[in-house]
Symmetry: none
C-alpha cells in the first residue's frame, strides 16, 4: 500500500521531488531553502507547501518515494534455483552498485540527513527494508554454508556494511580518486562506468576471498 501512495505523484510533484533530492544532496536539508527548490524546479514557492504540506514532509516524501520504489528489486534473486550462492551474492552486489550509482543523490542524502532517519515513518521504512535485505542475504549465506561453499562465522551486518560502506565511501570520494589517479581527462560518463566496473570487480573479489573455504 506504500506503493500506491508512491504512484499517484503527478508530473510536477515528481519534478519537485527530484529537484529537491538533488539540492538536499548537494547542500543539505537545512542548507537548501524552499526558494532554491522552487526556483530550480521552475515552480511557485507556495507549491511545495501546497503539494507536500511542508519542507519536512517533502523530504519524508522523497525517502518514502525512493525506498518503496526500490524495495522489490532484490527479492527475486533468492528464488532463482539455478544460481549458486556465490552467483546470487554477485548479483546482489551488482544490483546494489547499480542502484547506488543511478541514485547517487538519494544515497548521499541517506548518508547525510541523520535527523530525517529518526522520523518515525521513515525510520520504520528503512528498518524494514534493511532487515528484509539482511534476512535475504543471511539465507544465501546459510545456503552457501550448507553446500560447503562458504565459510562459517560470518556476521551478515558487517558483510553488508562492507558492501554498502565501501560503495558509498568510494563513490563519495570519487573527486579524490580522480585527482589522485590523474584521471581528469576522462569524460564524466566514462569515469562513472570505470568506477562502477572497478568497484564491482573489487567487491566480488573481496566477498569471494572472505567467504570461500580454502
Amino acid at each position: 500500500m506504500q506503493e500506491a501512495k508512491t504512484i499517484d505523484y503527478n508530473e510536477k510533484q515528481v519534478q519537485i521531488i527530484e529537484t529537491a533530492e538533488r539540492l538536499f544532496a548537494a547542500k543539505g536539508f537545512e542548507g537548501t531553502s524552499v526558494r532554491d527548490i522552487a526556483q530550480e524546479a521552475g515552480i511557485n514557492i507556495a507549491m511545495i507547501s501546497y503539494y507536500f504540506g511542508s519542507k519536512e514532509k517533502l523530504i519524508e516524501a522523497i525517502f518514502a518515494y525512493r525506498i518503496s520504489y526500490t524495495r522489490l528489486t532484490i527479492l527475486n534473486v533468492i528464488n532463482d534455483e539455478a544460481m549458486s550462492p556465490t552467483e546470487k551474492l554477485e548479483r546482489i552486489i551488482d544490483s546494489y552498485i547499480d542502484k547506488m550509482m543511478k541514485n547517487q543523490c538519494f544515497y548521499r542524502l541517506m548518508a547525510q540527513e541523520r535527523s530525517i532517519l529518526e522520523v518515525q515513518n521513515i525510520s520504520e521504512l528503512i528498518y524494514d527494508s534493511k532487515a528484509r535485505n539482511m534476512e535475504m542475504v543471511k539465507k544465501i549465506l546459510q545456503e552457501g554454508q550448507k553446500k560447503g561453499e562458504f565459510r562459517k562465522n560470518i556476521d551478515v551486518a558487517l558483510l553488508m556494511a562492507t558492501m554498502i560502506g565501501t560503495s558509498n565511501h568510494f563513490t563519495s570520494s570519487q573527486a579524490f580518486y580522480r585527482r589522485y589517479n590523474n584521471l581528469k581527462d576522462m569524460s564524466d560518463e566514462d569515469f562513472q562506468k570505470y568506477l562502477k566496473k572497478k568497484l564491482g570487480t573489487y567487491l566480488k573479489t573481496l566477498f569471494k576471498s572472505l567467504l570461500t573455504v580454502q
Copy 2:
C-alpha cells in the same frame, strides 16, 4: 605550520569547537544556530564571530583542528622495522577504528558536511592527509608483495574505502544493529566496546583474506 594555529586555541575556543562539533554532528551545520552553540557552551553569542570570524570559519576551524591533530598518529607505524606488513596493517586498522570511535562526532561531520569539504583550505588539508595515508599504505602493501606475503593487483584506494566505509557505515547504523540483534540491555559503554572489537576482528580477517597469497 597548520599545527601552530592549532596550538594557540585558548580554553574557551576549544570549548566552543567541541560544543559546535557535537551540535553540528547531531543537527547539521545549517541546522545548528550560533545561538544554540553559545547557549550550550555557556558563552556569549558574539564570541563566535569574535573568536572565529564567522560560523563558517568556525567549522573550518573544527576541521583544521581535528585533521591536523590526528595527522601524526599513523606516521610512525611504517618506520618500525620489527613489524611485518600484516602487523602494520592490523595496527593501522586498530588505529583508525580507535580514532573513529573516539571522535564519532567529527567523523559524522566529515560524512555529512560535504560542502565544507569543498572549502579550499579544508579540501587541501584533507587531500594531503588522505594522499599521505594512501602512500603509506601503498608502501606497506608493496613491502608485503615484495616479501611474497600479499597478493598483487590491489587498489589501495578501494582497500582504504573498505576500511573507512565499513567502519563508518557500521558505526552510523549502530542503532539498527542494536535493534536487529536485540542488544537493548547492554550498557552504552559495553556496546561501544563490543562494536569496536567486532569491527576490528572483522576488518583484520577481511584484509587477510583479501591480501594473503594462498
Copy 3:
C-alpha cells in the same frame, strides 16, 4: 430594499453566512481564514469568493443579513395602544435580551469588529437602525412623561447604552459570573435561562427606579 437582497440567499449561502458568523465571533475576522470557513461549512474554498466576492464582502453580508432581519421586530410595540409606557419599555427590554441571547455570535461580532462598522454600507445600516430605535424609545419616554409616569431629563442614548451595554457585558463575562458564583454544575441550557431571567428582572427594576417619578 435591503430586504430584497436578504431574501434571495440560497441554502448554501446561508450556511456559509452562519458558519462564518460563528467563526468570526470566536476567532475574529482576521483570525478566521476562508479555509476555516470552507472546511467547517463543508464547501469549496472558492465558493466564498464566488458567492460573496471576497472575505470582506462576506462579513458585510453577515451584518446586512442580521441587521435587516431584526429591524422589524420592535416597530410594532409602539403602536399597541393598550400598553402603558412602562409595559412598552419592559417589552423592549425582553425583546432585546431575547434577540441578543439568541444571536450571541452576531452581537459579539458587532462588539468586536469595529473596522467593519466603518464600512459605508454597514455604517449607514447601523446608524439607521440605531436612530430608529432611539426615536421609538424617545417617543415612549415622552408618552410616559406626558402621562406623568416618567421623570424628565432622561438622555435616551444613555438609557439605551445601559440596556445594551449591561446586557453585552453581562453576557460576555458569563464565564466569570459562573466561576465567581460557583455555578459550574448547572447545565449550559439552564445557565443561559438563568442569565436571561436575572438580566431581564434586573434591567426592568433598574429602568423603573430611574424613570419612575417618586
Copy 4:
C-alpha cells in the same frame, strides 16, 4: 511582584507596547501586522520578537502591563471612614470612567480580543482583578445596607456590568452620539470632557435611583 515586572520595561519597550495597543485597538490583533507596529513605532521589525518573544507574547505583555498598572487604584476608597457608602460608590464611578477614558485603546482591546483573555496568565490576572473589585463593591453595598442607606437584593455583578457596560458602550458609540446629537462642531477635547461629565452624572443618578431606599 507583578509590578516589578512592569517597571523594568525600558523606553523602547514601552513605546512598542503603546503603539501596539493603539493599533490592536484600531485594527484588531490579527489585523495588525508586526510590520505595522514596527513602522509606526519607528523601530526594527525584529525588535518585537527580540524584546517580547513573539507577537502573542507582546499582547500578553500589554495586558499584564495595563492590568497590573491599574490594580491598586481603587483599593484605598473603601478604607476612608469619613466617606458615606454613596460617596464611595460615586468615587468608584468617577475613578472607573476616568481610567477608561484615559485608556480607551486598552479598554477597547479588552472588549475585542476575547481569545487573549483565555490565555492562562492573563485570564487569572483579569479574574483576580475583577473578583477583587467585586468584593470591594460588595462590602460598600453591605455597609450601605447596614446603615439603611441602600436597598437589599442587589446583584453586585449586575451592578458592575451596568457601570462597565454602559461606559464601554457609550464610549464606543461616541461617533454615533456625536452625529445623532449634531455635535460635529465641538472640538475633540471638549467632546471627550462632555461625554465624561454626562456619563458620570448619569451613572451616579442611576445608581442612586436603584440603590436608595424610598
